[in-house]
Symmetry: C2
Subunit: 417 residues, 2 copies
């Protein structure tokens, strides 16, 4: 089956000077892909007429669908609509539905309507308007020489609604889409190159219609298999067979047979185990607690944390022995063990994690250089502690330590019954 290809053109000076990160394109990719549309290229250009036209022309040579976002606002720098009307050699007409919508909006907000707002109801004569429930600028759907050109607002909240309710359903009517299926495995505690070595034979044997991508992020690497075809059952079966082979190869490094994060996986396991967790954090400074609590529903298993940055807090709040602090230093097996056990007792949880290390850039010594991090996990089966030697800047060391602690807990947790 022929692939249906789309290109995205995002328009706006703010994208090129880095004032705004383009999140629209990723959202469009995420939502068009499962519908069977493949994104060939994403192009960002400034609010410049010639450059917009050049980008459209180039995109039409490669793709069936061109999605433009941005440049539909009421101010002088928004030129997408006029540029498109000129491009198709047509004039603008008032769209009565769009005009009534804008009028109603201003009445509801009890604000006077300006000329520039009325002009938002003007659309090129040859387009189908895409009504905007969430703003004033309608989108535009053009059909030309078998290709579809769609112009959408840059405001994510407005754009997303128009794509979900109008653009995707209409594209599905217009094109015969191939079936696209994804399967993702989350691995943890193993680097990209070792992983690739482990599954080399499988990777080399993949059929042409199934592709593998490695997506690394701190101590996790996502393996994403993407299959294309016409029969979804057959694709699912093929992907399933491959994934089973891969899972056998990666063994303990498999964190989850899904697309979740390490903290989500742990959360699910803790709920299954009807267990709770707390953290005692020194060098990670609350970052593990933040990762855990960024998951909705984490209050079901997360009770709390003690960020014991100063040694006095380690003693007074966690009950770490002053003698150990003096004899071994804060970054030591003895202290991190007492931290993990201390917080578990203090807060009263089934499990706990603790970190103590030197995130840098200052504070390193010959014996304990920057990047030396002790991590401990405590639970009903006792306390484990491990020393890591991490590289990178302060931010990197904090983030890697947090993910290493989460991965240590993941391996420590028993399988749910």
């Amino acid at each position: 089956m022929k692939q249906v290809l789309a290109e995205i053109i995002t328009i706006g000076d703010e994208l090129l000077i880095g004032q705004v990160v383009d999140t629209n394109s990723a959202w469009l990719g995420q939502n068009l892909n499962p519908a069977g549309v493949e994104i060939k290229q994403i192009t960002s250009v400034s609010d410049n007429r010639e450059h917009i036209l050049e980008a459209i022309e180039a995109a039409r040579k490669r793709a069936d669908i061109i999605l433009l976002t941005g440049g539909l606002g009421p101010t002088r720098d928004d030129i997408t609509k006029d540029t498109l009307a000129d491009y198709f050699g047509v004039g603008l007409k008032v769209d009565e539905t769009a005009l009534a919508h804008v009028r109603q909006l201003f009445t509801r907000l009890n604000r006077p309507m300006l000329d520039i707002n009325e002009q938002q109801a003007l659309i090129p004569e040859n387009c189908t308007p895409i009504y905007n429930d969430r703003g004033t600028a309608p989108g535009m759907w053009f059909e030309d020489k078998g290709q579809i050109i769609v112009s959408l607002p840059g405001v994510p909240y407005e754009m997303k609604n128009m794509v979900s309710t109008f653009v995707i359903p209409r594209l599905k009517e217009h094109f015969q889409m191939p079936v696209i299926r994804h399967r993702t495995l989350l691995t943890s505690g193993i680097g990209e190159s070792y992983l690739s070595k482990k599954i080399e034979t499988i990777e080399l044997g993949l059929p042409a219609h199934i592709r593998l991508a490695y997506l690394p992020n701190f101590s996790t690497v996502r393996l994403r298999f993407t299959g294309r075809g016409s029969n979804s059952d057959q694709l699912d079966k093929e992907l399933e067979d491959i994934v089973e082979l891969v899972k056998k190869e990666i063994g303990i490094f498999l964190a989850a047979d899904s697309d979740g994060s390490l903290q989500e996986i742990i959360g699910k396991r803790l709920i299954e185990l009807n267990a709770s967790v707390s953290t005692a954090e020194s060098c990670t400074g609350g970052y593990i607690a933040h990762l855990i609590t960024s998951i909705s529903g984490s209050s079901r298993y997360f009770q709390g944390s003690i960020v014991s940055y100063a040694n006095e807090v380690k003693e007074s709040t966690l009950g770490v022995s002053a003698h150990h602090l003096e004899k071994f230093g804060a970054v030591s097996e003895e202290v991190v063990t007492e931290m993990a056990e201390g917080v578990r007792n203090k807060i009263g949880t089934t499990y706990s994690m603790a970190t103590s290390g030197i995130a840098g850039p200052d504070g390193g010594t010959e014996e304990k250089p920057v990047g030396t991090v002790w991590i401990a996990v405590s639970g009903p089966n006792g306390t484990l502690a491990k020393c890591h030697h991490l590289h990178g800047g302060r931010e990197q060391i904090i983030e890697r330590s947090a993910f290493l602690a989460l991965d240590m807990l993941r391996r420590y947790l028993p399988e749910a019954e």
Copy 2:
């Protein structure tokens, strides 16, 4: 003076299917702009040889500098290096420095080195290697027909370091850049549109060679004034005059006359005041502590935090009254006040911040909907508490709450003597 134009080409399937949001391009725009380089276009393409080459050829027709990111990893889907070698019609050679660096990295990690890791030290014969202090893949600097083509890793942490330490300095040597001067004001507690209304007259009166960018980030907005010209003294004087006018208009919303973050500003003030701080966090789940400890040297003023997610922890660790918890609920003025005072006493710091709110998506009620957040600040002059009603998803509510707490402390702190 002739403009120096650059284009960015980001390479990777993950960008096109929307698995990863391209943040590299915005960072490059933010950092190349001040150096005198203007970004003409950003293009994202998949790990596909022909398409990468097509994008390079198109970009070279428009720009002086082509920056590629991505596709330099050790795995099979990383094809940028081979593609570039073929494009220039050259072979690959081993770069001994890069090889020694990779070897040293693996020795230090005490891991066996694989063939694919050795291959990372191979570079096209005609390029200057850009050494990677933070990873294994070197970057590549090509000069061809007066144009510069630079290939960088897609990992932001690695890429940023190479751009700051190698690429920008070298571009400045290579091209005659216009004089560019920046002045940045950090504002806090005021939205972009209100801010823009406040300084409308000044903005409209800016001369053509001075541009203003709004850089919003949660409860802070950076105002960056960029002046272009040939005389640096004159530019500095002009910028100074404008900044003084703006400072008068924004008053209390000025967080700092500099480019630091809110947590850096607070850190500096606490050091000047010889004071310390702690946090008691419920809905922010350790995120404020994380923001504070992400600043190097924060151990000089940050003692620790108690993340009291569960009510029992609020009682047992912070001494919040069970009666208040029952009568007013955890998200209340009474409880957040006791949390702030409790952590200040418990950990023994000059100041403290506390948060208690409903980050959602569940847990909201008619009376206290998702987004209801109480924030308190405590210090020698007493305790202040304020209720906010925030919008957005869980992550946004957590992040905005944290920055609102930091801003509340900023305003509470006395001016250093």
